[in-house]
């Protein structure tokens, strides 16, 4: 057994990294337990050059574009996992082995990687509004303070102008927004010319807030517009949680324990025992600390908590943003040329807030398409491949993808539970069902129609709606809801698991409502907030 820690933090992703940083900064002894899969092959294998130059010159590009095992070739229905580039596939390695999930209506992405799903994150960094925070059950002033602290840590650019209140709220010190290509500038101009119409109908458009630097910060360099954000991290312009954990490893009061899969905990008078399995040799292991922070992701935390309280077959609620995407052609802007260098990240964001209360807006993140292989588009086109290529290549400069997220409330068919399964390493398997009610489907479809109308008014022609299925938004929350009244499997507002004294949950498990905006910044802010509370609470 390894002992002597003040705090154990589970997970090295978005939430774990910032919970650990907050604790370590206070001088307490922190152990981070993590499986920590890393990519030892693709990491920065691509030369530090822009996508177009690499395509024209690099004879070895098939290694990282196609993949050493032809990973880029996937034939199944459009879903999120297969969309990962070879360089990011390690993010989901071994998940089926250690965190199996069975469902015919819910296909989430989970990660055991060093840095978690943050490795494949699109960098969208949105604050939740006062109304949204209240619906979630979070303390508004604590979160507003936390947002600023996190923004100072990771660096955020953009999110100003018309979308300020939706995107970045009161955050100060924002870096200038990313440069966008001529096509996006042309669309922005069209928005400006018809702004009254758009705003009157509840549409607010601007350059998105991104955890991507446009000015240097510490040892991280600004975006080089190489369009390789989904392949490498040469300049570390896009924030990834492993950047934080790498820094923490240099501190004497922080220990990182890799290859350890946590299965359950046991609270005792003087501390918490954390049990798990060494993922390399399968041997069991135990760690002990005064307090525990669960931050491995909502589904992972749910498994650990259910096991620890022996609540197999007990159902927990679940929230997951519905997500669809709509490819469009910017037909009115056909004269604009594509630059050699640009970003692959979101270049424009549209908020649809029909009642203008900033409490349940839908969001469309818009980006152009080039740096993922053409084959990913062509396999969806019902035309002979050679002709489809020629046809789509001509249209390529006009292609805009709009990824639409909708806000989410609890429902009777949105739940998970852990069932015994002796064939699994943990002896159990998570099951899930996630279905929207008819009313929710109608509401979302109506909103999508309105968003498509707005897209048309911006000079683009929507082609079709692609539904990758529930779970593809990568936003999960609400399994252990915040509750002022003590209830089993619920959290106090400070993150403490009710009926415990030393177990805190620092990921999104407590969120009682899930706004459409990206959850990542709020996860980081909440993790920081919970870590601070855990320092104050009870005996350290």
């Amino acid at each position: 057994m390894e002992d002597g820690f003040d705090f154990i933090v589970i997970g090295s992703g978005i939430a774990g990294a910032h919970a650990a940083q907050t604790l370590a900064e206070q001088g307490v002894q922190v152990a981070m337990l993590d499986v920590g899969k890393t990519d030892t092959h693709y990491r920065n294998i691509s030369p530090r050059n822009d996508f177009v130059s690499l395509r024209r010159n690099d004879e070895e590009q098939h290694h990282y574009l196609l993949g050493e095992d032809a990973e880029s070739l996937s034939w199944g229905p459009t879903a999120t996992g297969p969309q990962l580039t070879p360089a990011r596939k390690f993010s989901i390695a071994d998940v089926q082995k250690w965190m199996p999930l069975e469902s015919d209506s819910f296909a989430p992405l989970e990660s055991l990687a060093y840095g978690g799903l943050g490795n494949a994150w699109g960098a969208g960094s949105y604050v939740y509004s006062r109304n949204e925070l209240q619906q979630i059950g979070l303390n508004v002033s604590e979160m507003e303070t936390a947002y600023q602290i996190i923004a100072d840590r990771i660096g955020i650019s953009g999110g100003e102008g018309d979308i300020r209140s939706y995107a970045t709220g009161n955050i100060r010190g924002l870096q200038p927004a990313i440069k966008v290509e001529p096509l996006i500038e042309a669309i922005e101009k069209r928005y400006e010319n018809q702004k009254k119409y758009f705003n009157d109908h509840g549409f607010f458009i601007g350059r998105p807030p991104l955890a991507a630097l446009t000015s240097p910060k510490e040892d991280r360099e600004p975006l080089e517009y190489r369009e390789m954000e989904f392949y490498d991290d040469h300049e570390k312009a896009v924030y990834r949680p492993w950047i934080t954990v790498d820094k923490l490893k240099k501190l004497s009061n922080f220990i990182y324990k890799a290859n350890f899969f946590v299965t359950r905990f046991e609270e005792q008078n003087e501390g918490v025992m954390v049990f798990g399995i060494n993922t390399k040799d399968g041997t069991p292991g135990v760690f002990k600390a005064k307090k525990l922070l669960l931050a491995g992701g909502v589904l992972s935390t749910a498994r650990i908590v259910l096991r620890s309280f022996n609540k197999l077959n007990h159902q927990l609620p679940l929230l997951c943003n519905a997500y669809t995407y709509i490819p469009s052609l910017a037909v009115r802007h056909w004269k604009t040329a594509v630059p050699e260098r640009r970003t692959a990240l979101t270049q424009m964001v549209l908020f649809y807030d029909p009642d203008k209360t900033n409490s349940n807006a839908s969001l469309a993140a818009m980006y152009t398409y080039r740096s993922l292989l053409f084959i990913r588009l062509l396999k969806e086109v019902p035309l002979p491949v050679g002709f489809a290529l020629s046809f789509m290549k001509n249209l390529q400069p006009l292609i805009i993808l709009s990824g639409i997220h909708h806000p989410e409330q609890y429902g009777p068919d949105k739940k998970i539970w852990l069932k015994p399964d002796a064939s699994q390493p943990t002896g159990d398997k998570l099951h899930a069902v996630y279905k929207l009610s008819d009313n929710e489907k109608i509401k979302n479809q109506d909103r999508e129609k309105q968003i498509m109308k707005a897209v048309r008014k911006l000079g683009c022609m929507p082609l079709k709606k692609v539904d990758p299925g529930m779970g593809s938004s990568l936003h999960y929350a609400g399994t252990l809801p915040f509750s002022e009244d003590p209830k089993p499997l619920h959290l106090r507002q400070d993150g403490l698991l009710h009926f415990t004294k030393r177990i805190f949950v620092a990921d999104g498990s407590g969120f009682r409502y899930l706004p459409a905006k990206g959850i990542s910044l709020s996860l980081m802010a909440n993790a920081h907030r919970v870590a601070l509370h855990s320092l104050k609470s009870g005996n350290n």
């Binding site: 395509r55 070739l73 290529l389 249209l395």
Partner: protein, 137 residues
């Protein structure tokens, strides 16, 4: 089912899709990808595939039909496989990268589609008859 290939399959396929010739590297990558993705064909599929690779008109018609009716066909996947290999070679990069939209090209694509789609529908009728014993295409 076997991971059989037609003699000189890679070269013939590259010529059919993009009217280009390929070197040893592309051939190896193609065969490697076929193996990794286990793109085996049934006996009937092999017969259709061999026929396709012999004649450009037949290739175009059958491929149109597969694109319309059998998008998950392993034959189509083999074609996409070769396309992915070609896409990741510098010598073919310009076939996949475009800076500007052209109305003229769009117009000619429209004209071409007017021939391709009916050809695909006709070929589809024959494929349906050919695979009437229930085996997949």
């Amino acid at each position: 089912m076997s991971l059989e290939v037609v003699p000189d399959e890679a070269e013939k396929l590259a010529r059919q899709i993009l009217r280009c010739s390929i070197g040893e590297k592309e051939k190896e990558l193609y065969h490697f990808s076929l193996g990794k993705k286990n793109l085996s064909l049934s006996k009937k599929e092999m017969e259709i595939w061999s026929l396709m690779l012999r004649n450009h008109l037949v290739f175009t018609m059958i491929e149109s039909s597969i694109a319309l009716y059998y998008q998950r066909s392993p034959i189509r996947h083999r074609i996409l496989c070769m396309l992915a290999v070609l896409e990741t070679q510098p010598s073919h990069a310009n076939k996949f990268i475009n800076k500007r939209f052209s109305f003229t090209r769009f117009f000619f694509h429209g004209l071409k589609a007017a021939f391709i789609l009916p050809a695909g529908i006709i070929a589809g009728m024959f494929l349906k008859i050919y695979s009437a014993d229930g085996r997949r295409v």
